[in-house]
Symmetry: C2
Subunit: 223 residues, 2 copies
DNA sequence: CTGTGAAGTGACAAATCTGTTATCCGGCTT
DNA sequence: AAGCCGGATAACAGATTTGTCACTTCACAG
């Protein structure tokens, strides 16, 4: 049975949601503060976290950031007053799964919750996150990179290149190798796409993450 | 220890490769005909199949097609004379992992083999193929769809939409639902992107795969 | 210090992707 | 039969992605 964590400071709403989800057949844990919510979220695996943006202690954004840094595969549904709708894009960018504005129609929220949980269920069997040491994860679905809590949007090529470098982190990858594996080009010398794309990656990362090995190729720093 | 299957009719070359791979520490199975190779490939799990394009009985393309239809996650390295380099794009499109032209430098082939095997090793821990009933698979890395042996290139959006439909195959998905889940649009009515993208998918698939449910939404045929 | 070749960078053009709009089609209702 | 409505489709424009090229910067050898 799916397990939902509700983080909401307003008692009425918290109790309402708890009852509603429970009635729908979910197992529910509720938290009234950001700190308590974070503790619960980190302590156990939840299928969905319903998180209010406006909390007494920590800001919802903060909770979201910390939570996703620790569990990049967590699904978080952000709940927020219409006045804060402007933050919508921001939190979705940060990795939230969905955003619902308060006040909401019960059925509407319920539908959203069901949707997000079902989703996770079917995808969860094939993990979409490739763990790659320290704080780095590749998110196959979003095609982006989570590196120490920061979510970096990558293009298709950038992603493939990054994936390859990550798999061999610490080892040197020759241009030839990268051309063959990332671009599928077997022979052709006489292009500097690799250089260009390494440059583009560096621009999106801490620029000292990818090291140049003169006359050979590139290497991603081991950690 | 990784297991390689070599399918090559010319005895000298077959023995040479067998010895080379064995010396490199791999377990090797060799087959001299397409039929024998196919049988071996379907009978056991290999980490890499090295396949000659020019075989006495079946064409290499044929072997590749049948093999990938049955095991879409198989890694196949195509070996072929320079004269056939024109087929390169075609076989890579069909899902081959790599292409090496004959005659080749031993070390070169060895490097390619190592690369493809290592690759598979690291990705294999997180399966990149989502099985979805009958002959359909979603390949998260290539962002494409394998449907009864045919590999269909999809754009990012098309892929996400297709993934959603596949997850719910047989059930109807409302436009709203698709908008929310695939596009992340919560409210906005007044767009027909969904219709447009369903159209684009239909153009790439057997056009009767996606069914219209009037006044409701779309449904992917159950099988 | 200087010359040479390797690597980095900015600008650009082509290709692709995305979403909108306008129009067309086909079935249903009246 | 005519009108209407939901859905299909073609064409388009803007955005993004991709790879190339020319030029700059940098590291090392002499």
């Amino acid at each position: 049975m799916a397990h939902i964590l509700v983080v909401e400071d307003e008692p009425t709403l918290r109790i309402l949601m708890t009852r509603m989800f429970r009635d729908a057949g979910y197992q529910v844990t509720a938290a009234a503060t950001g700190a308590a919510g974070l503790q619960a979220a980190l302590g156990a695996q939840h299928d969905l976290v319903v998180l209010d943006l406006m909390l007494p202690d920590l800001s919802g954004e903060e909770v979201l950031r910390v939570l996703l840094a620790a569990r990049p595969d967590a699904r978080v549904l952000i709940l927020s007053s219409v006045a804060e709708v402007g933050r919508r894009v921001a939190v979705l960018d940060r990795g939230a799964a969905d955003f619902v504005a308060k006040p909401f129609v019960n059925g509407d929220l319920m539908a959203r919750v069901r949707l997000r949980i079902r989703d996770q269920g079917s995808f969860a069997t094939n993990p979409t996150h490739t763990e790659v040491g320290d704080g780095a994860h590749l998110d196959l679905h979003r095609r982006d990179l989570v590196i120490n809590g920061q979510r970096v949007q990558l293009s298709h090529r950038e992603f493939t290149l990054m994936a390859h470098l990550l798999h061999r982190r610490g080892e040197v990858c020759t241009r030839q190798e990268l051309l063959a594996d990332v671009w599928g080009i077997a022979f052709d010398p006489g292009t500097n796409v690799v250089d260009v794309y390494v440059g583009r990656l560096r621009a999106k990362l801490a620029s000292d993450t990818i090291e140049t090995v003169r006359n050979v190729g590139y290497r991603l720093l081991a950690s």
